[in-house]
């Protein structure tokens, strides 16, 4: 779910390009998909069981309009300095399957139906700084691609890459930007968690308002972060989401709050809350609890109670974001307080993208399952706080 409704990316702002690229469902449908009904129907849709199998489904799923591989984590250096990181690879198919038949007989190598985008962010908790950058490339001539075979799954955008070794479920993330970067090895510690009904994650009233969605909720991390040219060895824990879909988001939504939390008792919690324009929460909001053994408990809207305790107003966008929450998972007797490790973790890219969202490292304390005291860390994503998302 991590970014399913999240990113509305534009190539540049109006002054320079005004080229919108919506990565959320609806935007993908409205802005990127061709208008013809034939084209709309030619994308594959998620309307039932996803039949996810691994390692096969770590790989790309062409034919669906949108897909992403999403990594967040909290790590510490040898000296104990905490960092949060995010690296996400998006695939967007802007030409529906079958439209290739209209291409010239001898197509250029640049002709492709796929665009890839990647977001990289690093929160230096001790220093109090948040760095972020993004890349975009067409899935052609070696600029970006996603492939999978028996041995591995590879996704790359320019020189940023993700490689999943199937044999031992090792994920290798490499991304270096101007003044920061990462080279991390992630080891899967729990089996994939299939959200919703075996990965079929319903996001609305219609059966095809859904995505195929699974997470690797606990992965150990080691490797290096690069900050201002200095390599810093780190260790910690990460979370991975992989999701693909074609369906649009419901039109009455204002934005969403998404939480991925890892607790000291080796349990995890994912919840997403779809905020409606009328101030309420969408009944499609839901979540998943994962116990230490990897067994999951699906949570529905009524199971979750969230209260924002503190807010922070962004000096960049003017948006007012919650930065401390009280969360109750009623059937599991969980009562948690979640706080942003840094207030300013707003990804604001007016020069290249028009979306502004908050995506940041958080700390957790409170009572875990059955009221046992826990601490923990995680990541929270908040959208639609600076202005409503540009969704019709």
């Amino acid at each position: 779910m991590a970014s399913i409704f999240r990113v509305q990316v534009y190539l540049t702002d109006k002054a320079s390009r005004r080229l919108p690229l919506l990565l959320c469902f609806l935007a993908a449908m409205v802005m990127l998909m061709p208008c013809s009904s034939r084209a709309e129907t030619s994308y594959r849709s998620v309307a039932g069981p996803c039949h996810l199998e691994f390692p096969r489904d770590h790989g790309p799923h062409p034919g669906y309009a949108t897909e992403w591989w999403y990594y967040t984590g909290n790590v510490k250096s040898g000296s104990g300095s905490p960092f949060g990181f995010q690296l996400t690879f998006f695939r967007h198919q802007f030409v529906p399957p079958g439209d290739e038949t209209g291409w010239p007989k001898l197509p250029s190598a640049w002709r492709t139906p796929q665009i890839y985008i990647a977001h990289l962010a690093l929160s230096d908790i001790m220093e109090g700084t948040y760095r972020h950058v993004e890349q975009m490339a067409r899935g052609a001539v070696g600029l970006a691609d996603a492939t999978s075979d028996l041995e591995k799954t590879s996704v790359f955008v320019k020189d940023w890459s993700l490689e999943i070794r199937h044999e031992d479920s090792i994920h290798h993330l490499t991304a270096v930007a101007e003044d920061f970067g990462m080279n991390l090895i992630l080891s899967q510690e729990k089996p994939p968690v299939l959200h919703g009904q075996n990965g079929y994650s319903l996001k609305g009233k219609a059966a095809d308002s859904a995505s195929c969605y699974y997470s690797l909720t606990r992965m150990s991390v080691h490797g290096d972060l690069v900050v201002r040219g200095q390599s810093i060895p780190v260790q910690g824990s990460a979370w991975m989401d992989h999701e693909f879909s074609t369906a649009p988001l419901e039109s009455d939504l204002l934005g969403w709050d998404w939480f991925s939390l890892q607790f000291s008792d080796r349990t995890e919690l994912m919840i997403y809350l779809l905020r409606q324009k009328d101030g309420g929460m969408s009944p499609a909001s839901s979540g998943t609890f994962v116990d230490a053994s990897g067994t999951t408990t699906a949570l529905v809207f009524q199971d979750i109670a969230v209260e924002a305790l503190d807010h922070w107003q962004s000096p960049h966008s003017g948006g007012s974001y919650p930065v401390r929450w009280a969360i109750k998972i009623i059937p599991l007797k969980m009562e948690l307080t979640i706080a942003a490790q840094l207030k300013d973790q707003e990804m604001n890219t007016p020069g290249t993208t028009r979306i502004t969202y908050w995506e940041g490292s958080v700390s957790v304390k409170g009572n875990g399952k059955d009221g046992k005291p826990v601490t923990g860390e995680g990541y929270v994503e908040l959208t639609g706080y600076d202005k409503p998302l540009n969704l019709p």
Partner: protein
């Protein structure tokens, strides 16, 4: 400050009133200086607009690139884009392709089609669309839908196409229907080529042009943290033959080609201003001469000699400032007419420009003002110094004649001869950074030198000719001759205007005639061929698209009846000097044509070329690079390294840099490039009517080419030669206009000069009337003076013109453009035009001759 205010107030009382009272004369001088300033300003603005248009286009196309990856003479493999993008120092690697295409059908004007990857390009170049596309994101439509494009506003208006409309475009190889996705906002990249561009996705571009796998260049933007050696590290990963260049190099290379044209036109336009300077000199001199008594009164009242100096200097400044202001509307009128012609010439000869606006450059306006003012002050300095010499005691000598402190005529002649002699060593100096400064200085010295010869010439004429004149024209002619003898040094500068104008006229007539004669010979000998065949728009696309293989095959099938001379033409730079490398079948060409070699017999040179590996270079290339016969030429062309001796130098008048000829067979063998940029065809059996046979062959080729015919440009040899000469003539039409304006200013100068002389000696003339001379006799005498003056001016101007023509052909042209011509004098034009100039000048003298009768003789004599 008070002193300055006082000076201005005094000037208004003393000088401005005088100028107002003689408003016709004042207006004439103002018109002269305004014409000069207007011509200078408008020519500069017009040329600048063209150059700026080109530079802006290049800058806009280069975008924010720090470096550009190119393969000289070829294209860059597209696979390099990803490799470069992954280099740690590279922020963005954006591929770019561009070509001129045009809407199908007759009369479709070519425009620049740019193919890019909208995603990679987002950080490189600024462009946006108006957003009227139904699909919202036009960039994505470009990527999604083959054969879609985003035209600039100007193009869409020219085509009358809105988003959603179709337009058929033809390229050298194909004709395809495109759909207009949206319209580009008039900003950034959309302003390149004066707005005459359209964008398309790189995939569409390659599919349209058949350039699969290739890009023209890859623009690189480096990370801010990139190390100093990043460029070296990037260059190291490039394949052989592919290089890293600064994006400004293409712009500078283009500007280099235009620079000489710009400079020469500026110098030529300055001549009008230079001629205007003589007008100011004449009038201020007249005032100094005619108002000595008033100046003496001022001096006796306490005015310092310095004050008088500044008073007349201010008069010069007045002409400069008011003349410049009057030039504004004139410039505005002229520049609109000039800009079209200048940009057409620049496009024809050097680089394609599309001038869409005429920005008023404040710096250009300020420099034009400063120059006009400077020239005006310079013209007023000598009379102002003369005014300074007025002594207060002259107030009592009402009719005291002016002290003649001028040097003797022979002294001036010696000085003039010295200046003319100085020209000799000057012309041997090399150009400085491609600018023939010594040539221009030599030109100036020639004008000054010949002007200084005029008093001595006049003295000679006036001494020896009057007895003869008396026989021809009676006493008036005799007296006119004598006055010319005694006119002194001041006339040197007055006649100087005429000498300058006539000298320039004669020099340009000779130069243009020589140029045209040589070009005609070159066209006949070197541009020979019955039929010329090349891909469409080859010229503006710099021959980057070779002939389609089917066409090459078709030509080879015709070999029984036609001799084919194929060539491969590649545009390159040699140490930043642009040139054309042309590999051609010289062994076949020599059977039908020849090259105009500077030295050596063509047969011997071709024989040597067959015997040893080497190149032939054009005179332009030799002069621009310093290479000579025996030197080694090295170049990397299409990945092939050439290191060849120069075997001979030939004349060539292509304007886009020099030319290097190399046998096609050897080039093909070394590079593996078997493509042809074009071919010349010679009919083996032309029959009696060569033109009809050539046309028949043309039709046959077009018919047999089928669909390919629309991609071919087939021209008969006669038509091609006619086109070349037409462009030549059009190029020099602007020169002729500037020349006429200079002559007009000179004619105004004659009127003023004569008026000066008449007013200066009005007592003398009226004394003649008083002692019995008739008005007709006085008028005839003045006309004789004018005749002698104009003949002297023309005669000296003619001599000056011959010297100058040599200077233009063998120094300034060689240093500016690299070429020289076979010297040839257009006697017919000179025989016709010189009497015409004489007639016009005498006609201009008539109003001056009337001046003497404006006031009664008794009044003048009483004073």
């Amino acid at each position: 400050m008070k002193k300055a205010v006082f000076l201005v107030r005094l000037w208004i009382w003393f000088s401005l009133r005088q100028l107002r009272s003689q408003y016709w004369r004042t207006l004439t001088v103002l018109l002269g200086i305004a014409l000069g300033a207007a011509v200078f300003t408008s020519v500069r603005l017009a040329v600048n607009a063209s150059v700026d248009s080109f530079a802006n286009s290049m800058d806009t196309l280069a975008g924010k690139a720090d470096w550009t990856v190119v393969t000289p003479g070829a294209r860059v493999p597209e696979g390099l884009v990803a490799a470069l993008q992954k280099h740690p120092a590279v922020e963005t690697a954006s591929p770019l392709l561009s070509t001129y295409v045009r809407p199908a059908g007759n009369g479709g004007e070519p425009f620049l089609l740019i193919g890019l990857d909208p995603i990679s390009d987002r950080d490189m170049r600024q462009w946006s669309s108006t957003g009227t596309s139904e699909r919202g994101s036009s960039w994505l439509t470009l990527m999604r839908t083959p054969y879609t494009l985003l035209p600039g506003e100007k193009l869409s208006e020219r085509w009358h196409k809105a988003p959603g409309d179709s337009i058929t475009l033809e390229h050298a190889h194909r004709t395809v229907d495109f759909q207009v996705t949206d319209i580009l906002e008039p900003e950034g990249l959309a302003l390149a080529e004066g707005g005459g561009i359209a964008l398309t996705d790189i995939a569409t571009f390659q599919e349209f042009t058949g350039l699969h796998g290739w890009v023209d260049r890859i623009d690189l933007r480096l990370k801010a943290s990139a190390q100093n050696d990043a460029a070296r590290s990037i260059a190291a990963m490039l394949p052989e033959g592919t290089v890293l260049e600064k994006p400004s190099e293409a712009r500078e290379s283009g500007k280099l080609m235009v620079r000489s044209y710009r400079l020469n036109l500026s110098v030529l336009s300055f001549v009008s201003l230079f001629v205007g300077m003589f007008l100011i000199f004449s009038l201020v001199s007249l005032h100094v001469t005619s108002r000595r008594h008033e100046m003496a009164v001022l001096r006796s009242l306490g005015a310092s000699s310095r004050l008088l100096f500044f008073l007349f200097l201010l008069e010069g400044a007045f002409f400069g400032v008011v003349g410049w202001v009057a030039a504004i509307p004139l410039s505005s009128f002229l520049v609109r007419r000039l800009v079209e012609q200048v940009s057409a010439t620049v496009s024809h000869l050097f680089v394609r420009v599309q001038v869409d606006q005429l920005p008023l450059d404040p710096l250009e306006a300020a420099s034009s003002f400063a120059l006009t003012l400077f020239v005006s002050l310079l013209a007023a300095i000598q009379p102002a110094i003369e005014a300074r010499k007025v002594h207060p005691r002259e107030v009592f000598l009402r009719h005291a004649s002016r002290e003649n402190g001028s040097p003797a005529p022979y002294c001036l002649a010696l000085l003039g001869a010295l200046l003319i002699l100085t020209v000799w060593p000057l012309v041997r100096l090399p150009a400085i950074h491609g600018v023939p400064l010594s040539g221009y200085l030599a030109t100036f010295l020639l004008f000054c030198g010949f002007s200084l010869l005029s008093p001595w010439c006049l003295h000679l004429l006036g001494s020896h000719l009057p007895p003869l004149l008396q026989h021809v024209g009676g006493q008036p002619a005799y007296l006119g001759g004598r006055y010319i003898r005694d006119s002194g040094a001041r006339m040197a500068l007055s006649v100087g205007a005429l000498i300058t104008a006539v000298g320039l006229f004669v020099a340009l007539v000779i130069m243009i005639h020589s140029f045209r004669g040589t070009v005609e010979l070159w066209v006949e000998q070197s541009i020979s061929g019955d039929l010329f065949l090349r891909p469409k728009m080859s010229e503006i696309n710099r021959y980057r698209d070779p002939l389609p293989p089917q066409t090459v095959q078709l030509l080879q099938d015709l070999q029984e009846s036609v001799e084919i001379v194929p060539y491969r033409r590649i545009f390159l730079t040699y140490e930043k000097v642009p040139y054309q490398f042309e590999a051609l079948d010289l062994s076949r060409l020599r059977h039908h044509a020849s090259l105009l070699f500077l030295q050596g017999h063509p047969e011997n040179i071709f024989r040597e070329l067959e015997a040893r590996d080497g190149i032939l270079i054009s005179e332009v290339f030799a002069n621009q690079t310093g290479l000579g016969v025996g030197d080694h030429f090295t170049a990397q062309i299409e990945g092939t390294k050439l290191d060849l001796p120069v075997l001979a130098i030939f004349r060539d008048y292509r304007t886009q840099g020099g030319t290097v000829h190399y046998p096609l067979e050897r080039f093909t063998k070394k590079s593996g490039d078997t493509s042809w940029s074009g071919a010349r065809l010679f009919l083996k059996h032309p029959g009696e009517d060569l033109e009809a046979a050539a046309l028949a062959l043309k039709n046959e080729i077009l018919t047999r080419s089928g669909d390919q015919a629309q991609a071919l440009e087939v021209t008969t040899g006669r038509d091609l030669r006619r086109i070349i000469l037409r462009i030549f003539d059009e190029t020099f039409s602007i020169t002729s206009v500037l020349l006429l304006i200079a002559l007009l200013a000179a004619t105004l100068g004659i009127t003023t000069t004569l008026a000066t002389f008449i007013l200066e000696r009005s007592r003398q003339l009226h004394t003649l009337l008083a002692v019995g001379a008739s008005r007709t006799q006085v008028r005839t005498m003045i006309i004789w003076e004018a005749v002698l003056m104009v003949i002297t001016g023309e005669g000296i101007g003619l001599c000056c013109g011959f010297f100058l023509s040599y200077l233009l052909i063998f120094v300034i042209n060689r240093q500016s453009f690299g070429w020289t011509f076979i010297y040839s004098v257009d006697w017919t034009a000179l025989w016709i035009s010189l009497p015409l100039i004489l007639g016009t000048a005498l006609f201009a003298a008539l109003p001056a001759s009337q001046l003497v009768f404006q006031r009664p003789a008794s009044q003048v004599l009483r004073e």
